[in-house]
Subunit: 348 residues, 2 copies
DNA sequence: CTGAAAGCGCTAACAA
DNA sequence: TTGTTAGCGCTTTCAG
């Protein structure tokens, strides 16, 4: 590995001072045209590139935003990142992404590394590990250390910082009400354990829809899955539990899944058992991603507008970064949208 | 925003020297236990965190790897990143990810920013924009500047550096041969324009399979799509072109799609037209992602082992980073695997 | 056991 | 028009 050219080298080779080189390279009028040209040419020859690290040290800011997400293979997170990237770039910020893989330790590690100099602030969605441990010391520390954090998606009420969340409750309430409106009387819910905040809220929305519409809700129609069955092998137990529920409850005429995979698995199992979608059974999922679009029939789902989430988060972060005053923390709640596709018979 | 604590501050407050603080904080035996304790306690109080930026400046290496990918919403890239992350962390390296969004300009921008101090080397898959422009100056410059690059997936023969690629040709040849072996006589191909290297190679594999098996290949059964129809709106024209092909060629009894979306779209259109899968029509896709697993029926596909690609790339990069000698560049070719699911009737 | 000083690459105020 | 100097936060040698 060759080493990189520095101002010093250029200066020495050319017999001028470092600051002359520095000024020339940024086109300062202070330096004569002749010198500037000579220096520029030589710098090009050496493939000179200014060292951002040194700049950050000097400026005490990096103009980059750190993003930490639990998983990258989830379409939702990819969308948020797209939003973050696009908007941050517009504002002259760079974006660095790191993954926690749903692990508490890795989240801590990544925060520590990034927090110490590489970035000006964080946008992050906490890992399941962190949620389970209920250990947030790394977040407190980061905030205390003076580095702003914007939390998105999964929430932690204890932590005071800016947040952007999706209205999971309303989103799922409306989805379930739509199912009821389309004639469903026995809607099954496939959800997560309650410690996953969004799973909990979506479940609440499902229940509330029943109450509001004056429809009886049968607790046996709620299937609580103890983790996200996203690996291919793990799909099998999920499907057999769903099948079991269908066998026990042939009256089921609607499914609401708190994520794409759950909704889709429900639909698949039903199809295998001979149900016609949407005639015998209507299905709605939460999170509108590739799976919903490409399913057959395509899946009606609650769209979260991941790009907007990213956008909002960046906005909040930059505002805090660029203003000296620490105003009160905000929580931005974004509404969802029900995207109607082939798996339901909604009116409008 | 509060500002961060530094060694200097701690030193001043405690009336000791900066170097004493530095040593104490890293548990040097040089410093008395008493002083060490006092300093550690105070540092904790101030939420002190060493500034990595300063460290990098000093060490002239960052122990982090930069990854630039064209898109994050593609499952394949997410998998590669998983592989990179996992293996890099094992080796004590951190990973930073940036996106080019398939744009030449953004690729250049990201490389420039990261290359100047934030990372020790790159793992990257070039954007379509770059491929179209055939402008690789930014890559040359980076390499000349002494920063190693490992290219993966999309290839650029002109550039000499380490590479890890998937054997697209063999992969698709074997997939198509399997279709032929399962009785298909008229296999349609849904592919990209030729400037996308992998699309080209997969097409070659498809053709070669026909030659080797002594089966006539009808050029009309090749559908060349001029871009990746990944937005939902763009799905419609894709599907209507596919439908057209089916109407014109009712003899089609197999489909090979050079990516998941193409294969899936082919299958969906066929299903709508009343084809039974896999009885009337067998379908295979390239790239084994979520869509294939969750499709109904699930899709047989050529698996690329994205994680391994990431792993190999990291290995090559670290080897180069940690050895002084610049050995000859290598190209690692990884084999694919045909994952059989419900959309085909392979013997196996 | 503790501290002073140099230096990593760069910028900017100030001098010449 | 060019150069000197100090300093960003940290480590490390060398003195004290």
């Amino acid at each position: 590995m060759k080493k990189k050219a520095t101002l010093k080298e250029i200066a020495n080779e050319l017999g001028v001072s470092i600051s002359t080189v520095s000024k020339a390279l940024k086109g300062s009028t202070e330096i004569s045209e002749e010198t500037t040209e000579k220096i520029t040419a030589f710098a090009k020859l050496l493939h000179y590139r200014p060292n951002n690290i040194a700049l950050s040290l000097k400026n005490r800011r990096t103009k980059t935003i750190g993003v930490i997400i639990p998983e990258i293979v989830h379409h939702f997170f990819s969308e948020v990142i797209q939003g973050i990237e696009t908007f941050a770039n517009e504002k002259g910020y760079n974006v660095l992404i790191a993954l926690s893989n749903e692990s508490f330790d890795k989240e801590v590690f990544n925060i520590d590394t990034l927090a110490s100099g590489s970035i000006d602030g964080f946008i992050l969605s906490v890992s399941k590990g962190t949620l389970k441990n209920q250990d947030f010391h790394h977040l407190y520390e980061t905030i205390n250390q003076g580095m702003p954090i914007v939390l998105f998606d999964r929430q932690i009420p204890e932590i005071s910082c800016d947040k952007v969340i999706v209205d999971d409750f309303q989103g799922s309430r409306r989805a379930v009400e739509a199912l009821i409106g389309a004639g469903c009387k026995h809607i099954a819910l496939i959800t997560t354990e309650d410690y996953v905040d969004v799973g909990f809220k979506r479940t609440q929305g499902y229940l509330d829809a029943h109450t509001r519409q004056g429809i009886a809700q049968n607790p046996d129609l709620i299937l609580r899955v103890n983790d996200q069955f996203f690996s291919e092998d793990a799909l099998v137990p999920l499907q057999s539990r769903i099948k079991e529920m269908f066998l026990l409850h042939p009256e089921i005429d609607g499914i609401f899944g708190v994520n794409e995979v759950y909704a889709l698995s429900g639909m698949k199992v039903a199809q295998r058992m001979g149900y016609k979608i949407p005639d015998d059974l209507q299905v709605v999922g939460f999170t509108d991603g590739v799976l919903s679009k490409h399913a057959y029939p395509s899946l009606t789902s609650v769209k979260q507008h991941g790009q907007n989430i990213g956008r909002e988060a960046v906005q909040m972060l930059i505002r805090r970064l660029e203003s000296e005053s620490d105003g009160p923390f905000e929580t931005k709640v974004l509404q969802t949208e029900l995207v109607q596709r082939e798996s339901t018979r909604f009116e409008n």
